[in-house]
């Protein structure tokens, strides 16, 4: 019999993953610090992390600020037998460490992966057609994720560019924030397209500096995710950018969004990193200026547009 699948985090995405896995016939242990029962056959909810050790594949579905804390706790219970796949968008610290690097440092687990792309919790939970990408160096991790989730309504692509998937997913948040802002400034579709395309290109440059492959940024984790954000998948970055663009203070915008806005957190970190590494990131610098309150929107836009032309 297949071992159970573990899911950590009983937020919208964690519960959607649990449902998805139960739908393809797997037993699921869902961890939550304050467990609420879930009426889905095959899903058992627990507040004991130690119980997750019986699983082989563990999904980590907690917001990025909590990843380190959870990983540290998890590190007491897991070992080399386990596989961890996270779905968190985020980067940590001045060196832009990815979530998988954080998990690797805090747990003995080595077979790691990141599931990303335009995956929306509600769509997954309802079983509507969707697709995502698993980034992992280990083919067996990709196999395990497909066995645990893939079915008639969910296609999962795979890539060995784990860093690319994580960076595209996280850096895309900065572009999404810029797009929200631009929408609030009533900029037209052409301008939004330029922002999105060049923003992804910039994200790819940062990604390459961190060892990722540029083409991953044109895939589901990069372009795919950004298209979903613009099409209205409820990404907090877009809503945050729009609120700030409409004149709300940062605190008010964050309050209105009601969720962690990763893009706003990492933009200044990416700007500093890029300056150290001499990577050109004009859009991220612009977003950093806007959210740290250092510049007027029209002035930032003018600076962006007046830069000397360059090859695409």
């Amino acid at each position: 019999m297949s071992p159970p699948v573990a899911v950590i985090g009983a937020g919208g995405f964690g519960r959607a993953l649990a449902k998805c896995s139960a739908r393809v016939g797997r037993r699921v242990i869902l961890y939550s610090r304050s467990p609420k029962p879930m009426d889905v056959q095959g899903v058992r909810v627990t507040s004991e992390l130690a119980e997750l050790a019986q699983a082989e594949l563990v999904f980590l579905a907690v917001p990025s600020p909590h990843v380190a804390g959870v990983a540290e706790q998890l590190g007491h219970h897991l070992d080399g037998r386990h596989l961890i796949v996270h779905v968190s968008r985020g980067l940590v610290g001045h060196e832009l460490h990815t979530v998988s690097e954080t998990v690797r440092a805090l747990t003995p687990v080595r077979r790691l992966g990141a599931l990303a792309g335009p995956l929306v919790a509600e769509t997954l939970a309802r079983g509507e057609p969707a697709g995502g990408v698993i980034g992992t160096l280990f083919p067996e991790v990709a196999d395990a994720v497909c066995e645990a989730l893939a079915g008639p309504t969910l296609r999962i692509y795979r890539t060995s560019d784990l860093a690319g998937v994580e960076l595209a997913n996280a850096l895309g948040g900065i572009v999404a924030l810029a797009l929200g802002y631009a929408q609030a400034m009533k900029l037209g579709p052409g301008t939004l397209a330029v922002l999105a395309t060049r923003g992804l290109s910039e994200a790819a440059r940062v990604g390459q500096g961190r060892g990722a492959e540029a083409r991953t940024f044109a895939g589901l984790a990069g372009a795919g995710d950004l298209i979903a954000a613009v099409a209205g998948d409820g990404r907090p970055e877009v809503a945050f950018g729009r609120a700030v663009g409409e004149g709300a203070s940062l605190a008010d915008a964050a309050k209105a969004v009601g969720a962690h806005v990763e893009g706003a957190k990492i933009a200044p970190l990416v700007s500093q990193w890029a300056q150290r590494k001499q990577v050109d990131v004009p859009l991220t610098d612009a977003v950093t200026k806007l959210i740290t309150g250092g510049a007027a929107p029209r002035e930032v836009l003018r600076e962006l547009m007046e830069r000397p032309g360059r090859a695409e």
């Binding site: 590190g75 070992d79 080399g80 037998r81 160096l137 280990f138 083919p139 590494k277």
Partner: protein, 567 residues
């Protein structure tokens, strides 16, 4: 069947065969297992290509690459070998299933025999007695008798060993040690072999480029002291598989091994940071294979850095790096290593230099990058003992999985590269070169590397200023050392900045055919930026941490730090 060997390796006659004693290291039994190891390698290769189509493909690939090689070769017998491979290609399509496997078996066996090393305890015992004498005699030919008698202690002063040596010795009794040092000189093997002997560690099996076997004396020692031959001219995929299978079988059987994961000597002088691990990765597979067979033998990877104040082949290496930057590197056949007068000059420079070479061993790791305790048990980040067998298992059972092990190997390459950075010992020549090179970058804003390297003899730094700069940079380095982020040689720690500068200039002067820097009119004048780049590259990753808050110095340090291509 084709013969790959241009020369037959020399061995001592078996008049008085050495019978190993129980307390002897495992490698003393190597010769008795040698044929078995070759046969096991052949068996694995044939098994891997059981499928007829796969066997045909690998044979075609082999013939294609060998034909190309021999078409360009001017050596004696090349025409006969060329004809052999052409004949194989012609017959391949008509061969039966058995015929293809027979051909594969024959080629794999020839390759494995060519690769396989030899270990003669008599040669080993002779070498550890004689080599220090010969080396130290080379340093001081005028007093040859005294040097021959007193050579061991002199070599001890010259080459220092640091790190958890007792722990490594203990672990070598529990499992197989896979030693993975940095590689900057052909002297590395000799230096490390001496330190292993001196510290009571077992000799190791190691791969050496076939070009090193061209000198009959070096070839004799290498061949009889456990070296196996790696012929980089052979491009056939099958050859790489034979090498990998050979190193895997050797590790599985418990022979401590040494690999230079950087592949070749670091051309740029930098610590290698992008490690593919190559053959060293077979240690990961070896552990998994032993688990599948139920053999409880651990594998421990031991990173080490080999740090020289003076690099024998520095000029050739940096020239090659600059010439070949961005292109495929070629095999250097003729460099300082093969020229006796450079050896003598090199060792004469080493005279009186305590710790001219420092080998620093890092903490051992299991194949999955976990640290291990003093008993060799793997440790989780929280200090808990964990079972490494889990990593080689899927759904509770150990399995051999090439893709999985390739991923573990990549991970291990990163972990070892991190250890290299942390375990690098900064030598005085590197620190002086770094400070001078930083000056060069600072006074040449906007120039690219090659533009800067053209500044020969026209950048002068007032000596007082340079000494002050060096003193401050050294203080910052020592602070990094206190934080556990770097190590410094005794000279860097103890000498005054003034003396450090003098010693570096004195060590370079007269050994390198071009002066690196010279003193004139109260200033130090940069003469050879290439060599400065070579020596300073070793600590390039520390550049920003070693810079002061002065904006111009910081900008220069940032530029040095992002010279990504110099990895």
């Amino acid at each position: 069947m084709v013969k790959f060997l241009p020369t037959k390796p020399l061995r001592l006659p078996r008049l008085r065969t050495y019978v190993p004693r129980p307390e002897d290291p495992k490698i003393f039994w190597f010769n008795s297992e040698r044929d078995d190891i070759v046969q096991e390698v052949v068996r694995r290769i044939v098994e891997r290509y059981e499928d007829e189509e796969a066997a045909e493909l690998i044979l075609s690939d082999c013939a294609y690459h060998e034909i190309r090689r021999y078409e360009e070769s001017k050596t004696e017998g090349a025409a006969r070998k060329l004809e052999h491979w052409r004949s194989l290609i012609r017959r391949l399509g008509r061969m039966s299933y058995e015929g293809k496997h027979e051909a594969l078996r024959g080629i794999a066996e020839d390759m494995a025999k060519d690769v396989a090393g030899n270990f003669d305890p008599r040669v080993y015992k002779f070498a550890v007695r004689a080599v220090p004498g010969l080396l130290t005699a080379a340093m001081n030919p005028s007093n040859i008798m005294r040097n021959l008698v007193d050579s061991g202690s002199r070599l001890d002063d010259l080459i220092a060993g640091e790190g958890p040596i007792d722990k490594i010795r203990h672990l070598s009794r529990r499992g197989t040690i896979v030693l993975v040092p940095t590689h900057s000189s052909n002297l590395d093997s000799l230096a490390i072999a001496w330190v292993l002997f001196r510290e009571g560690l077992s000799p190791v099996v190691y791969g050496a480029g076939k070009n090193l076997f061209s000198n009959p004396i070096i070839s004799f020692f290498m061949h009889n002291l456990g070296a196996y031959r790696v012929d980089r001219r052979i491009r056939a995929a099958l050859y790489k598989e034979v090498l990998k299978a050979y190193s895997c079988v050797v590790i599985e059987r418990g022979y401590h091994s040494l690999f230079f994961p950087g592949g070749t000597r670091s051309r740029s002088g930098a610590v290698e940071l992008r490690l593919k691990l190559g053959l060293a990765g077979s240690g990961v597979e070896a552990f998994a294979r032993n688990q599948v067979r139920g053999v409880e033998r651990r594998v421990y990877f031991v990173p080490a850095t080999i740090n020289y104040a003076l690099v024998l082949e520095a000029e050739t290496l940096i020239d090659d790096f600059l010439k070949e930057e961005g292109k495929a590197r070629y095999i250097i056949e003729d460099d300082e290593f093969s020229r006796l007068e450079r050896w003598i000059s090199f060792f004469q420079k080493f005279r009186g230099l305590d710790s001219a070479c420092i080998i620093r061993f890092g903490e051992p790791l299991d194949p999955y990058c976990n640290p291990v305790d003093d008993d060799g048990e793997s440790l989780a980040p929280d200090g808990r003992v964990i079972d490494p067998r889990g990593y080689a298992s899927r759904r509770g059972s150990p399995v051999v999985d090439g893709s999985r092990d390739a991923a573990y190997t990549r991970d291990l390459g990163n972990a070892i590269a991190d250890r290299y950075l942390a375990e690098t010992v900064v030598m005085h020549t590197q620190l002086v070169a770094h400070v001078l090179f930083r000056r060069l970058v600072r006074v040449t804003p906007g120039l690219d590397l090659f533009g800067r390297l053209r500044h020969r003899g026209d950048v002068a730094v007032p000596r007082d200023e340079l000494v002050a700069d060096l003193a401050e940079t050294r203080d910052r380095l020592l602070r990094l050392c206190d934080e556990g982020r770097a190590h410094a040689s005794p000279a860097v720690r103890d000498m005054s900045a003034d003396a450090l500068l003098d010693r570096a200039l004195q060590v370079w002067d007269g050994y390198h055919s071009r002066p690196v820097a010279r003193v004139g009119g109260g200033a130090v004048i940069i003469e050879d930026p290439n060599l400065l780049l070579f020596y300073s590259n070793r600590i390039r990753t520390l550049a920003v941490d070693l810079a002061s808050d002065d904006p111009a110095e910081r900008a220069a340090a940032t530029e040095i730090a992002v010279m990504e291509k110099h990895r």
